[in-house]
């Protein structure tokens, strides 16, 4: 496949997901309502508990990550879910499209939506709670955001693989799996407060390191050495594994006939 054809196939998915997203009645809730409710409720809770500005920033960083990852990951899962829901899986996989086009195209839309949420919530955080995401610098914020996007891609592609393996029965993973990852990664607390056995799992999640690195700029010493490098390296490995799993799931669905069943 030529580079032009590769880009066009991914672009086709970008256009498709963007159009579907804009016509989704939940679009407003996903993009604005839930993220704003999240930041406001958590921010007000930090005020009620009388947390220091550093502690409030620690928690709000978690809220920000949760909102961005939730939306971006769901968009990646839509790469498969939209076709499962509309029973058009067979049309999709009869066309010259690979899982890379599906996931990358959906991820691009997810990143755009995630960026919009990040900007909105950052503005809200600054206005309502004096929490400034750019205080550590643009570079640090960008790396943190990129870490969130990488996590979203990995979880989203893994969800796509599960849906392709088990059909619409695995739909619940699309909403549930990311929350498990967020809980393990220390979304509102440092990994050190987790029980040792759970902390081992937390160390296997790239987001743990991106959160750690970003929070270090808000007065909390990093728990891990070279967290950004560790998070990136780990993400690369998981990204390859998730991609391989999705491809293998599609091939299995071709053998078992699930690809056709999902279109009936």
């Amino acid at each position: 496949m030529s580079l032009r054809a590769e880009l066009l196939a991914a672009w086709a998915v970008v256009v498709r997901n963007a159009l579907m997203g804009m016509r989704n009645v939940f679009f407003f809730f996903e993009l604005l309502f839930w993220p704003i409710v999240g930041v406001l409720s958590i921010g007000l809770m930090t005020r009620f508990l009388g947390l220091t500005p550093e502690q409030a920033a620690f928690v709000l960083v978690g809220t920000l990550a949760l909102s961005v990852i939730n939306v971006c990951q769901l968009e990646v899962a839509y790469a498969m879910l939209l076709d499962v829901w509309s029973k058009s899986v067979k049309h999709q996989f009869m066309a010259p499209i690979g899982v890379r086009h599906l996931t990358v195209g959906a991820w691009l839309v997810g990143m755009l939506r995630g960026l919009v949420i990040f900007v909105l919530l950052s503005a809200l955080g600054a206005w309502a709670f004096d929490f400034h995401v750019l205080a550590p610098g643009l570079g640090a914020a960008a790396v943190f955001l990129f870490g969130c996007f990488l996590t979203s891609w990995i979880v989203g592609v893994a969800v796509c693989a599960l849906i392709t393996l088990f059909g619409s029965r695995a739909e619940a993973f699309a909403w549930a799996s990311v929350n498990l990852v967020l809980v393990l990664a220390g979304i509102y607390y440092p990994v050190s407060v987790l029980p040792p056995s759970v902390a081992v799992l937390a160390r296997a999640i790239p987001l743990t390191y991106f959160l750690d690195a970003y929070r270090a700029h808000f007065g909390f010493p990093a728990e891990f050495p070279a967290p950004i490098a560790t998070g990136l390296a780990m993400s690369a490995v998981y990204a390859v594994l998730a991609h391989w799993a999705f491809r293998a799931a599609v091939e299995r669905a071709r053998r078992t006939g699930l690809l056709l069943k999902m279109s009936e």
Partner: protein, 316 residues
């Protein structure tokens, strides 16, 4: 590859497929039990058979949607398992129960698939416009898919199936659920595709008249095996159903079924339908016998058996 093999759009040998289901109690369903099939380029080939015969399974294997368990299938000279990427660019499919993303509009659905086949910019717009015009979807181009009627959805599926100008087109029950007038237009269009574009078309259908009208050749599939294949006329002869002589007589003679060459007789709507081995030979003999017995012949019609009767015979 031999020149003969290159002239074939489909060349499948002993293709098998078994579906397995259930975790604890494994169930196995043999969908294809060694299907061999060749289809020449530029032909319209019809695949007929009862529900669950294996038609869609075979079509799906040939369209790279399903991997066979055994056997070899080459489509347009390419292996359906090894050469999937190259093959998908050259074929396409439309099914009788089409389904696309519900809130995309007609033009967006066609454009989505056109992009997947490498079209962009002005070429993309021209192709989308041409297909929308060809299938008379102009007034509906901005209508969401979920709001279209069954007939319009089917037309969208056909437009999508032609977006890459395929060399081989699979049509899985293309007129299922369509109004008769729309079905006639779809059939006319299928014939045009072959006539004007030299496209090879493989279709499955439950409508015998459709197969009779459109197909150069027909394959009857049942329980995962192709039981018979040939031109519609050859199949009728091959099955040995004979010709049907329909008579309106007064009175009805009791001896009609005992005349040599008469295979069976049945009454329906005031007509006596006698199946004979050869109408040219038996009609004069029948007439002579009836006149000699003083039977009044009020009406007489001779017809070949319908493909439907061949189907019923084979599906028995």
């Amino acid at each position: 590859m031999s020149p003969a093999a290159v002239a074939l759009a489909i060349d499948a040998h002993e293709v098998t497929k078994t579906f397995r289901s259930g975790w604890l109690r494994r169930r196995e369903t043999a969908a294809l039990r060694g299907v061999s099939l060749t289809v020449e380029r530029g032909a319209i080939f019809g695949l007929l058979g009862p529900n669950g015969a294996g038609k869609t399974t075979l079509l799906s294997i040939l369209a790279t949607l399903l991997v066979p368990d055994g056997g070899v299938a080459r489509v347009l000279g390419l292996d359906v398992v090894r050469d999937t990427s190259a093959l998908r660019r050259r074929l396409n499919m439309a099914s009788g129960r089409p389904s696309f993303l519900w809130s995309l509009r007609v033009e967006e659905i066609v454009a989505f698939y056109a992009r997947l086949y490498g079209l962009s910019g002005a070429r993309l717009r021209r192709r989308v416009d041409a297909l929308i015009e060809q299938y008379e979807l102009g007034p509906h181009r901005r209508v969401p898919y979920s709001e279209l009627s069954t007939g319009l959805k089917q037309r969208v599926a056909l437009a999508k199936a032609l977006v890459n100008d395929p060399e081989l087109l699979f049509l899985d029950e293309p007129t299922l659920g369509l109004d008769p007038d729309v079905s006639v237009r779809v059939r006319r269009h299928i014939a045009e595709l072959r006539r004007e574009h030299g496209m090879t078309i493989v279709l499955t259908t439950h409508y015998m008249r459709e197969a009779d009208e459109l197909c150069d050749e027909i394959g009857f599939i049942k329980s995962g095996r192709i039981l018979a294949r040939g031109t519609p006329d050859a199949l009728k002869r091959q099955i040995g159903l004979g010709d049907v002589v329909a008579l309106k007589l007064e009175p009805r003679p009791a001896w009609l079924g005992e005349v040599p060459g008469v295979l069976r007789c049945a009454e329906a709507d005031g007509w006596i339908e006698c199946t004979v081995d050869d109408a040219d030979k038996r009609v004069p003999e029948l007439l002579r016998a009836l006149l000699a017995d003083g039977v009044e012949i009020r009406n007489l019609q001779v017809r070949e058996p319908e493909l439907e009767e061949v189907f019923v015979e084979l599906a028995r």
